[in-house]
């Protein structure tokens, strides 16, 4: 039983990391009022470029860095359309996803199906990794777990809710006209946070192929970008909660692995549906059961609305 729990939690932490990164990036973008539906495509681009990089450079760090940069460039392309040109955010996001998925498949054509040899190896932090159940999951996997689950969300939380910059940032997402009147650079704020969100989506893709599923194949992102978008809504646009819900979501994924490993009498296809069904339940059930939730977890008021200085 302990073995099972330890294994499940380890898988959950590993699988949830992908979602945690992408969802945290999307929280940043949505907090400044931009919905980036391109996450799925940027993750695919990050995943494939990480694989391509490590196949020649043999360093997971360089691979991850390239994935981050590719994600940032993709985020900038999206931001150019959605923020600078103020085009429809839904369309720009879908277009980014199409471009990302199409390009990544075309780029990764000759890498498809080959195992990635250079990945982030196992790192065991002495003492901490011998804590029963949670030790191996948090401190005995790869070096990125602690930054993803602890450092990044806490930093984002601190900046967002404890600094003046964070207040400005939230103001841009709630009421850009007022923020503009107060002298906050609305456009720059939106552009750079969307870029940062894109970089984190790229990083999530790189993390996916450099730790969790070390092989590139077409469609391997498999809707994780969309699940991340749903988690952002579920978590009420809060960095720490979004990270925890990514972990919860990792557990759902782990459950389907455990089911397949233990030969549960359910077809694997149905077990593979679990994450999607789970996400549906995540965003529908709380709102239905608990009506007050809608106000507490409300989206930023100016979400998905382009800002025109001269239109009232």
């Amino acid at each position: 039983m302990i073995m099972l729990l330890t294994g499940m939690l380890a898988t959950a932490v590993l699988a949830g990391g992908v979602l945690a990164l992408a969802a945290l990036g999307e929280v940043l973008a949505e907090r400044v009022g931009v919905t980036n539906l391109g996450v799925e495509g940027l993750m695919a681009l990050g995943a494939v470029t990480a694989v391509m990089t490590v196949s020649t450079m043999h360093s997971p760090w360089v691979g991850l860095l390239v994935a981050i940069m590719v994600g940032a460039v993709g985020g900038m392309v999206f931001a150019f359309g959605a923020v600078v040109m103020r085009a429809n955010q839904v369309l720009c996001g879908l277009a980014t996803t199409f471009m990302g998925l199409g390009l990544s498949t075309a780029l990764g054509h000759s890498y498809a199906g080959q195992p990635v040899e250079t990945t982030f190896g196992h790192v065991s932090i002495p003492l901490l990794s011998s804590i029963p159940i949670i030790g191996p999951a948090l401190f005995g996997q790869n070096i990125l777990i602690i930054p993803i689950y602890v450092l990044l969300p806490l930093a984002a939380h601190f900046i967002m809710f404890r600094t003046r910059h964070g207040l400005n940032m939230r103001a841009v997402g709630e009421n850009p006209a007022a923020a503009d009147a107060a002298g906050i650079p609305v456009m720059a704020m939106r552009f750079w946070y969307v870029t940062l969100g894109g970089a984190m989506a790229g990083m999530a893709g790189g993390y996916l192929t450099l730790t969790y599923v070390p092989v590139w194949s077409e469609g391997m992102v498999a809707g994780r970008g969309w699940i991340a978008l749903a988690l952002v809504i579920f978590a009420g646009y809060r960095p720490v909660i979004v990270t925890l819900s990514a972990l919860l979501f990792g557990l759902v994924t782990a459950l389907s692995f455990v089911g397949q490993a233990h030969n549960w009498p359910i077809d694997p296809a149905f077990l593979n549906m679990l994450p999607y069904i789970g996400t549906m339940a995540f965003i529908i059930v709380p709102v239905v059961v608990w009506h007050r939730m809608r106000r507490v977890m409300a989206a930023p008021a100016a979400l998905a609305q382009p800002y025109y200085r001269d239109v009232r």
């Binding site: 359309g81 429809n88 879908l94 199409g102 054509h109 498999a222 239905v288 001269d310």
Partner: protein
């Protein structure tokens, strides 16, 4: 602010949109040609080849119509949903659901074609409707974002198709992978390989255009999309209209799946939706909320898909088409926004708060 040279209009004039879209498409084609030239292909030769084998040959034209058929319906599905201000990103899943339901009828029942085809059609429509039910109710009663719920169901539908075509419904006769056996019932062909689903789809799209522009129901939908508050104040049951429109949308996408199963592919296959659901979004965007415009928009999209086949013969992966579609969509989104701006004569600024 200094004197502004441009003024933003709340609605963009149609002529300007058309002009900017042509520019957007031309620009996209230039970028694509540039990328192709850089990767060692000859864009000019490729363009000639594409034109010759799509519009210039009978096979190309037949393929074009076969591609148009599902695109007309998924495009219409996204368009009607957009009329009330909602995004149905799940046409892909509803397409599968319709295909599954129609296949279920074809495999489970036996009878004359005249009875089977209507039954399969009804099953396909109901399948698509069933697939959008949960997002519809969640949207209408709890305000849950329909973009994400409809989209997530695509993955579930695709997995279900995979399960059925490798499990209970797998092909036991010819042993084809991830596929059912060939269905005994099919939509009759009218011109080469083009089946009667194509004219039916056109009639449906035209009919929808009439319903949306000429009936009370259509009027209420349009008002509900333009201004939900005003619609509610005027006594329009917006919630019921949302439900009916979303179900209609799901039914249309399901019908597309049925046509594809019974007319084109003749069997249920994994991956048979071929992104038609997602491309339906592009068609709807190109159509700008008008069902009649869906026809030329689907034609353009079918041309792009058709040229994808040519590109595959030239050692270019089929996924390039998805990237190209994305680029065109992106350019058009920007072009549509720019169409809102009108140059104004620079006068001395009267007031800063204008």
């Amino acid at each position: 602010m200094a004197t502004r040279a441009f003024q933003r209009l709340p609605t963009a004039p149609a002529g300007r949109i058309l002009a900017l879209r042509l520019v957007a498409i031309a620009l996209s084609l230039c970028i694509i040609a540039g990328v192709l030239a850089l990767s060692g292909h000859s864009p000019g030769m490729l363009a000639e080849l594409i034109l010759r084998s799509t519009l210039g040959s009978r096979f190309g034209l037949e393929d074009l119509m076969l591609f148009m058929c599902p695109l007309l319906l998924t495009g219409a599905a996204v368009t009607v949903c957009g009329t009330i201000g909602l995004w149905n990103i799940g046409a892909e899943g509803q397409f599968y659901a319709g295909a599954i339901a129609a296949t279920g009828v074809a495999l489970g029942l036996h009878g004359p074609v005249l009875i089977m085809l209507p039954l399969m059609t009804i099953a396909g429509i109901l399948g698509g409707m069933a697939w959008i039910t949960v997002p519809t109710l969640a949207r209408a009663y709890a305000g849950v974002n329909e973009i994400i719920t409809t989209l997530l169901l695509n993955f579930i539908a695709s997995l279900l198709t995979y399960y059925l075509t490798t499990g209970p419904w797998r092909d036991r006769i010819s042993g084809a992978q991830v596929s059912t056996q060939r269905l005994s019932v099919s939509i009759p062909e009218m011109w080469g390989i083009v089946h009667w689903g194509f004219p039916v789809a056109i009639v449906i799209v035209v009919g929808l255009a009439l319903i949306l522009s000429r009936t009370r129901w259509g009027y209420e939908i349009r008002i509900g999309g333009a201004n939900p508050e005003a619609a509610r104040y005027a006594g329009i049951p917006v919630r019921l209209r949302i439900i009916s429109v979303m179900l209609l949308s799901g039914g249309l996408a399901g019908l597309a799946g049925m046509f594809e199963v019974a007319g084109t592919v003749h069997r249920l296959q994994g991956g048979m939706a071929n992104n038609f659901g997602y491309l339906g979004i592009v068609v709807a965007v190109l159509a700008r909320g008008s069902c009649l415009n869906v026809i030329p928009a689907a034609l353009l999209m079918a041309l792009i898909l058709d040229s994808g086949i040519v590109m595959q013969t030239q050692q270019l992966s089929a996924s390039v088409i998805l990237a190209i579609t994305g680029l065109i969509l992106f350019m058009i989104a920007i072009g549509d926004e720019l169409a809102h701006y009108r140059p104004v004569a620079t006068k001395p600024a009267k007031g800063k708060a204008s």
